[in-house]
């Protein structure tokens, strides 16, 4: 640039245009690039972020391949028709049919949707969870766990981590939890139809019951009045008189008071449960909860 100016200046001075002006081009970022980019990004930010598009709208998308990979990922084989049925939302199927009618398309085959499959799947999942937990815990706990695991939120979470979001044909985007949960249930039903009930139950065990890993059952279920509950429970098992006793206490006159209460069997003076709390009542309840936990199978000392 600089050289060109000098050349032009000397040219003017000499007054000869026969001298060749050598334009020495420089390979640098041009002056106009930065302001242009700034303006473009300003306009982009003004419009707002790009809306998220579903994966199926991309160029690199092959539904059949994705379905095939999905089956391999889970480790199960499905009948192709049943699988595609399980992944179609009812509203979507209805709208497709409506559109076809509007267009006057007579040879349109209405798509099967997953409403019925979802109901069947829900039954399979709930029954299996209840069955598994009834082996070691009483009915109330089994039912509470079943309710916890079959919520839409939980099933949607599992479905997302198996890759359902891109495969489901639905009306809305991004997908609602209800849609994902329904599709998951429909898949379980589809599996029981394609293979057998046992495989479907194994699938439920591996993916739904596995979500209880690391979670304490007694965080999900607590009896309302622990002490009365425990007394009833122990009566059933032959321990008629239960004595709560204060084992330890510290910092009694302060805010951070601490009482440790133990529940003892009056006959053989054995310890049934021990718990601590800010006052004696809370400590007694905690001890009752501890006793309940010791009675049922999985005992983890707190």
């Amino acid at each position: 640039m600089f050289c060109r100016h000098i050349l032009q200046a000397t040219n003017r001075l000499i007054g000869q245009s026969s001298m060749n002006i050598q334009y020495i081009g420089c390979r640098n970022i041009k002056r106009w690039v930065a302001p242009t980019m700034k303006e473009l990004s300003r306009r982009r930010k003004k419009v707002g972020p790009d809306p998220n598009k579903p994966r199926s709208s991309y160029l690199e998308w092959n539904y059949d391949v994705e379905l095939h990979c999905f089956q391999n990922r889970i480790g199960e084989t499905f009948d192709k028709n049943i699988l595609s049925e399980a992944l179609v939302q009812r509203e979507y199927a209805n709208i497709q049919e409506f559109k076809a009618k509007e267009e006057g398309n007579e040879s349109y085959i209405p798509e099967q949707h997953n409403y019925d499959l979802a109901k069947d799947g829900n039954a399979i999942i709930s029954d299996y969870i209840k069955e598994e937990y009834s082996k070691n815990y009483p009915e109330e706990i089994a039912i509470t766990v079943q309710k916890y695991l079959t919520t839409d939120e939980m099933l949607a979470h599992i479905a997302k981590h198996l890759g359902f979001t891109d495969l489901i044909k639905a009306v809305e985007y991004p997908l609602e939890e209800r849609t994902l949960a329904d599709s998951f249930k429909a898949l379980v039903a589809a599996l029981s139809l394609s293979s057998d009930l046992e495989r479907a139950q194994l699938f439920v065990k591996d993916f739904v019951i596995a979500q209880m890993n690391g979670k304490d059952i007694y965080d999900i279920w607590t009896p309302e009045k622990p002490y009365e509950y425990v007394v009833k429970l122990l009566e059933q098992r032959g321990i008629k008189k239960v004595e709560p006793r204060l084992c330890n206490q510290s910092a009694v006159n302060t805010i951070l008071a601490n009482y440790q209460v133990g529940l003892y069997d009056s006959n053989n003076k054995s310890l049934l449960g021990i718990g601590w709390g800010e006052n004696v009542q809370i400590a007694k309840d905690t001890a009752a909860l501890d006793a309940i936990q010791r009675l049922y199978n999985s005992y983890a000392r707190k």
């Binding site: 160029l59 690199e60 998308w61 092959n62 391949v65 994705e66 095939h68 990979c69 391999n72 990922r73 889970i74 480790g75 979470h157 599992i158 997302k160 981590h161 198996l162 890759g163 891109d166 065990k205 591996d206 993916f207 019951i209 596995a210 979500q211 890993n213 690391g214 979670k215 084992c247 330890n248 510290s250 440790q260 601590w276 983890a300 000392r301 707190k302």
Partner: protein, 185 residues
């Protein structure tokens, strides 16, 4: 060793959706191989697609592999995981072996872990099985009956045996006969 000088995000171990508990699920959902049909930087990628790609696809039937030719752009490997993470690797001037290595690494990962430092190498939900220590764990219950201040419990216990007592003990030991005097292991 401090970590305050590092610009990495610290995080604990996470597993997407309790992966190993039931059956193992490969966390890589799909891989897109973008390359240029002509440019020299895509040569390795093109050779990989021609030779080793089919073997990789056969070995991993749970990963959807897409091949996307894009002119005048560098070759890229873009991976999408089941938890929604994406990771892209610039494959410019890679050899086919390098590309295969990267693909194998992406397949065995569960999310994009670049720029994340693991704080601990263990993750437990049940840190204590026998019960954590409380001030009451080894506290003798007899201390509940003691009236404080108790002069006997203030200082250390000094066991002074008189000479007579020691002789008596020695006699007792001899009397017993087969006595094995051994130190605790």
């Amino acid at each position: 060793m401090s970590n305050s000088h590092l610009f990495l995000k610290p995080a604990f171990i996470t597993t997407p959706g309790q992966n190993g508990v039931g059956r193992y699920v490969c966390q890589l959902q799909r891989v897109v191989l973008k390359f240029c049909k002509n440019n020299g930087s895509s040569r390795g990628m093109r050779e990989f697609i021609e030779t080793k790609l089919m073997d990789f696809v056969k070995e991993s039937p749970e990963v959807a592999v897409y091949v996307k030719p894009r002119r005048h752009r560098t070759p890229i490997i873009k991976a999408e995981y089941l938890n929604g993470d994406t990771q892209w690797v610039n494959a410019r001037n890679f050899t086919e072996d390098e590309i295969l290595k990267w693909l194998k690494l992406l397949k065995s990962q569960s999310s994009d872990r670049t720029g994340i430092r693991l704080r601990k190498l263990i993750h437990t939900d049940f840190p204590s099985v026998q019960g954590p220590w409380t001030p009451y764990t080894f506290r003798d219950p007899q201390l509940n009956k003691v009236e404080f201040p108790c002069p006997e419990l203030t200082g250390p216990f000094i066991n002074e045996t008189s000479a007579t007592e020691e002789l008596l003990e020695l006699y007792k030991r001899q009397k017993l006969g087969n006595v094995e005097e051994s130190r605790a292991e």
